[in-house]
């Protein structure tokens, strides 16, 4: 029985790995193909079944005048907007979540759980509902088609995620830790920054990861709130599409666009396994 269990376990892991890795391998292979190799039936092995070419990749870095899309500018725009919005969302969201976890708020029938739900409800609404208000709001304050405008909108979109994850995290951090810090002579701010926050880094990393993912993959708001001054990566990649779908360039662009998320995941994974709260109490 243990052998069968081990076999099944490895079988499932390998199956799942194939399921996850296969699209990447497919995209890598396609990004080095040309028109004929993609449309002339399935080919798998480079040099034997098709001749690899860098055409798909070079389009991404050529200026528009030479038939390319030059993703470098939008790439850095995307990194700047996503990371800035995620950082601000985590900073504000963590403070809000701590308050919602530790203090009691009551206004009529509205209590802590209702406020937390209000935050989450921002994500339940279909994005299209928010598009017109955001458009009018940004055009009123003069931030339409700007990085600052996009950051503002992304903060609104990402902070609910941060609050939601961090409230749950703080609820599981024993309040005796805060109380001990108060007894040891901290004021509530010192207790939060010196004691609670260092213990909350794993939660903040998880929340940060979600914020970065959701910020990075957004196409909808980047598309409707920007025009010519500012462009983000997803919008730029879509611009590759023409009457003949360039699968090779799209594959290259897809690989380039997921690279930051993979790097972030690798860095973050170490911290997640390293730090947790289990030793703080009990």
């Amino acid at each position: 029985m243990p052998k069968l269990y081990t076999f099944l376990k490895y079988f499932c892991v390998i199956l799942w790995s194939c399921f996850v890795i296969a699209p990447f391998l497919w995209a890598i292979s396609t990004s080095f193909k040309d028109f004929n190799s993609v449309t002339g039936g399935a080919t798998y092995i480079p040099w034997l079944q098709f001749e690899p070419t860098l055409d798909g990749w070079s389009v991404l870095f050529k200026p528009g005048s030479q038939g390319g899309i030059n993703i470098i500018g939008p790439y850095f725009n995307s990194i700047f907007v996503t990371f800035t919005a995620s950082f601000i969302s985590i900073a504000l969201g963590t403070l809000a979540a701590y308050a919602l976890s530790r203090y009691t708020f009551k206004a009529g029938f509205v209590q802590n759980n209702d406020i937390t739900f209000f935050f989450i409800s921002q994500r339940i609404m279909p994005p299209v509902v928010l598009s017109i208000p955001f458009f009018i709001f940004l055009s009123t304050i003069g931030l339409l088609d700007s990085l600052a405008g996009l950051i503002l909108v992304y903060i609104v979109l990402l902070m609910p995620i941060a609050v939601w994850i961090m409230v749950d995290f703080f609820n599981r951090v024993p309040k005796e830790i805060d109380e001990t810090a108060l007894i040891d002579g901290c004021n509530p701010f010192q207790a939060f920054f010196k004691v609670v926050l260092p213990n909350s880094i794993p939660g903040m990393i998880v929340a940060g990861l979600f914020c970065i993912i959701f910020g990075w993959i957004d196409f909808f708001f980047a598309f409707i709130l920007t025009f010519t001054n500012v462009q983000l990566l997803p919008v730029k990649i879509v611009a590759l599409n023409s009457s003949i779908t360039p699968w090779w360039s799209l594959s290259a662009a897809a690989l380039v666009s997921v690279a930051p998320l993979i790097i972030v995941a690798f860095i973050v994974e170490r911290f997640l396994s390293k730090g947790n709260l289990t030793g703080a109490l009990k």
Binding site: I177, T180, L182, N199, L277
Partner: protein, 357 residues
């Protein structure tokens, strides 16, 4: 260090409710400087609330908290100079043992050389000196609890160290050693120690004074001897001692005698002015003796069970509805079927409406 007084303290967690429930009913208590106290009572009787009121984590609904005659009822926790050790060890997991112990002094901006001296001194007392540079997170539960305690001891000005069932997570052998260590600390530094527990043995072996609480009220405060020999209420009689006090409904026959079923028991309590129907006789199983023949204050009962606990025997006997538990020496000969059990008059306590007369 300070004398702590609770004047007419009461606390409700829902004070704005039309019918507030009081976790702590109105009471006044005083804690002498340098004393060793135990707060004893079942879970939910208000012990932790009282502790949190003293440390400032909870502001009482009524009454005043005084430290050395100074009103600190509204003083915030960090300004009260109280140390509190919780049921489960609370350590700062991201810091080393040294940093954990130094933390309260750092918060008070104590110079580094003084911090170093004090931390090493306390680590020596608590046998933590070998772990000072280790991450606190990796230590065992009892070592973590020692760190919690150490954070209280590094502060020389601490008014009292409050401990909320601090040895729950500790092994029995270590519990004994830690209790002894706490006593040593109390003797050496004259720090007021207030120890919350629901374990009577812990309370009895630790404290000079025990405060027994039930349903938000202090039911008796006194030395372990007082609580054992003269429980002021039937609750204390039942709660303190193992086995619990034998308690029987009885009727007053005359000024110094009660009837217990078909038995007449003489007592030293004057029952002349007693006019309640709710009268109870209480006697500790330790004071009941086995007799060879019938005599005054003896009950002839059937033996149900004799349990040998190694250092003593526990006899369970029954006469009609009266079930008696008697603790006798191991060498004592116990008959196999029926036994004469004597209730010495000087150890019989009479309770009217569950209160000692």
């Amino acid at each position: 260090m300070a004398k702590i007084e609770l004047n007419n303290i009461a606390h409700s967690y829902n004070p704005n409710d039309p019918n507030p429930i009081f976790a702590l009913k109105e009471m006044s208590l005083s804690w002498a400087d340098g004393g060793r106290y135990a707060l004893l009572g079942p879970s939910g009787c208000g012990k932790t609330t009282m502790l949190n009121i003293m440390s400032g984590l909870v502001t009482p609904s009524h009454g005043k908290v005084m430290f050395d005659q100074k009103d600190v009822t509204r003083t915030i926790t960090e300004e009260r100079n109280i140390a509190q050790v919780f049921q489960f060890p609370v350590i700062y997991g991201t810091m080393s043992v040294y940093e954990n112990l130094a933390f309260p002094l750092k918060c008070r901006q104590t110079p580094d050389d003084q911090i170093d001296k004090k931390v090493k001194e306390v680590a020596e007392i608590l046998n933590l000196h070998d772990f000072l540079n280790n991450r606190a997170k990796g230590l065992t539960a009892d070592q973590k609890q020692l760190i919690s305690l150490g954070r209280g001891l590094v502060r020389e000005d601490v008014a009292a160290i409050l401990m909320d069932e601090p040895l729950t997570v500790i092994d029995p052998d270590l519990k004994f050693r830690l209790r002894r260590k706490l006593k040593e600390i109390n003797a050496k530094y004259k720090t007021t120690l207030i120890y919350v527990t629901h374990d009577q043995n812990e309370a009895m072996t630790f404290a000079d004074n025990i405060i027994v609480m039930d349903e938000g009220e202090v039911v008796q405060a006194g030395s372990p001897k007082d609580l054992f020999e003269k429980p002021q209420t039937t609750f204390v009689g039942y709660f303190i001692g193992s086995p619990a006090m034998n308690l029987y409904e009885c009727k007053a026959d005359n000024s110094n005698q009660v009837s217990l079923g078909s038995n007449n028991i003489s007592v030293q309590t004057n029952l002349v002015s007693t006019n309640t129907s709710n009268l109870k006789l209480g006697i500790r199983s330790e004071y009941i003796t086995v007799e060879q023949s019938s005599g005054p204050n003896t009950i002839h009962a059937d033996i149900i069970e004799v349990e040998d606990f190694g250092n003593y025997k526990l006899i369970t006997a029954q006469q009609d509805l009266i079930r008696i538990k008697a603790k006798v020496k191991r060498e004592q000969e116990v008959p196999s079927e029926k036994v004469f059990l004597k209730f010495p008059a000087e150890h019989c306590c009479i309770y009217a409406d569950n209160k000692l007369i």
